[in-house]
Symmetry: C2
Subunit: 349 residues, 2 copies
Amino acid sequence: MTTKKATIKDVAREAKVSIASVSRVLNGLGGVTAETQDAVRKAAARLHYVPDNAARSLITGRTHTIGAVLPDLYGEFFSELIRGIDLAARARGLHLLVSSSHDGVDDAAAAVRTMRGRVDGMIILSEFVDGAFLEQNVPADLPVVLLDSPVDNPRYPAINMDNIAGAQAMVKHLLDAGHGSVAFVTGPAGNYDAQEREKGYRAAMARFAPKAPLTIVAGDFTEESGYRAGRELLAQATRPRAVFAANDMMAVGCLYAFKEAGVRVPQDIALAGFDDILIARYVTPSLSTVSVNIADLGKSALLLLTELMEGKGRLDGPHTRTLRCDVVARESCGAPQTNVATKHPPALV
Amino acid sequence: MTTKKATIKDVAREAKVSIASVSRVLNGLGGVTAETQDAVRKAAARLHYVPDNAARSLITGRTHTIGAVLPDLYGEFFSELIRGIDLAARARGLHLLVSSSHDGVDDAAAAVRTMRGRVDGMIILSEFVDGAFLEQNVPADLPVVLLDSPVDNPRYPAINMDNIAGAQAMVKHLLDAGHGSVAFVTGPAGNYDAQEREKGYRAAMARFAPKAPLTIVAGDFTEESGYRAGRELLAQATRPRAVFAANDMMAVGCLYAFKEAGVRVPQDIALAGFDDILIARYVTPSLSTVSVNIADLGKSALLLLTELMEGKGRLDGPHTRTLRCDVVARESCGAPQTNVATKHPPALV
DNA sequence: CGGCGGAACGTAAACGTTTTCATCAAAACT
DNA sequence: AGTTTTGATGAAAACGTTTACGTTCCGCCG
């Protein structure tokens, strides 16, 4: 109880063997008699011995830990993402070191740097990363997987969701449902996802409704900004028949603006978001959206990372992968519902 | 670039000084001339030197990392909790190592053990911990803060939310609103929070409505179980006037059961939950609940932990603290709304 | 002018592992 | 029976730091 802490030496002494044998037994390396094994295990248990990870990783150069660098932990998106990563990591016996809340480039750089020697690989999701940033801050031999990043560099594979296709599909869906004009609420200017989604909106409009007007109002992914955007849209001379917000939170903001104004959804105006956050199911009317299976994104990133770690930086497939997005039509778009999962949220596993 | 990785020796050679001086400069220990400092810094920058954390913590015994052991990362509760912890940790220059998804005692024990030498302290939230568990698995000198735990041991300070008082307050609130009979939906059997909340319900009923019937149906904190509980309650001979679910997800489940049956909330039956998760604001009618400020819980835990780490295990105040819970009355309880924060979610900071 | 104190710096030990290599005994060949 | 092979074991080096302790040099005081 009050004993300092048992080291491998103590175990060796207690078991009357050398430290080498203790190491062999505890790491299951073989080349040890059953009796010695037994003695070592007993001694280790008696002393409550647990190997010191610092010493271990100093010599092996491995930490069995991967780092996740995220801009924030707030909201369902990051929560789900980190959950996906954690689950996959844990299944592989890897620990997860998280680092979040970066206000600027320097902050992000510091976060990445201090991970040196602490992790075997990193998953980075940050608007601040680009090729130069990575060269500067990431040790040459450290595997990195990028999330939602425009960086196109074989050394830093990226996993993106198919924002463009998803947005296009949703716009087409709204048009097909008979809503002739579709307005768009953008995300924050610097955000990659937001830009891609806007691209998808423009592409779909150009293709499927070339003569309809293009209505675009600015938002920043917050509910508040969605609410303002909603009011702004209602105030316009000719209201759009449908509104497509670049994410769900803004769509919810719109919804409240519409409710407040007595505008019925979807009868008077249809509404759709992007992300399929949990809330989307629970608002009234339930929100049509584009689903990305965020946890899967995290999982895929981790899988790719481990592949990278084992392959020593060499990768088989292409260095950037894309995750499918699906339209899930609920009540708010005024079309027959499709793709809606069971009413209740996914199981824990 | 393609260089292996710079060690302190390389920097020393490059700057033409000893490794001791490099260490002194980089750690700001003084006893070094300005010129030497300059030379060292320049050399370090030139080589992109970053000290190896494994080596450092091996010798210093500190990792500047704290571990968070949680049962899961799913759902808003844990998400908010970890966010609170992370924010506070980051403000103190500490890293955060998370470990979740423990299926049983052994799993949890393994999680705690493998953190040895990886963290300077731990925050544990798990139904599996008790005094014996901790003695067994936590190194004697490692500071630990417990969350939501019945353990009452000076060596393991705990932070709990005031479940009993919160539940009592909510029941009283429902009774005061004129709902003569209040039913309760329990959480999972082993869960500490759930037990405390039930205690609060019983206490309040005994005190404020001694002759009203006690209706209790079992749930397990999932929406699904809440849905079933809701149906069960409707099927009873005499329906209760109000339902108090041990958490918000179950309340939402009830809500859907009631909607499905055409029972109006709150006119036909009032409803309340516990936790104040984000969804509570967005369902229709908005859900009355008991708010716990989860992020604050995490923050408090981290603060207590650092206090413990600096004080070398000695603590000033009492070894268990309690966080206030507040009734927030929204639409579902059929009383004037109180305590409802701004319509939009809290700011990011 | 000689000794002394202190600042600047270097040498080397220590931290707790893993792993290479040598050692040794016993088992397996010739 | 002598020699080789095999398998178990131990001694010691290495990992990259921090830090206690020496050493050197200089200026100062007696």
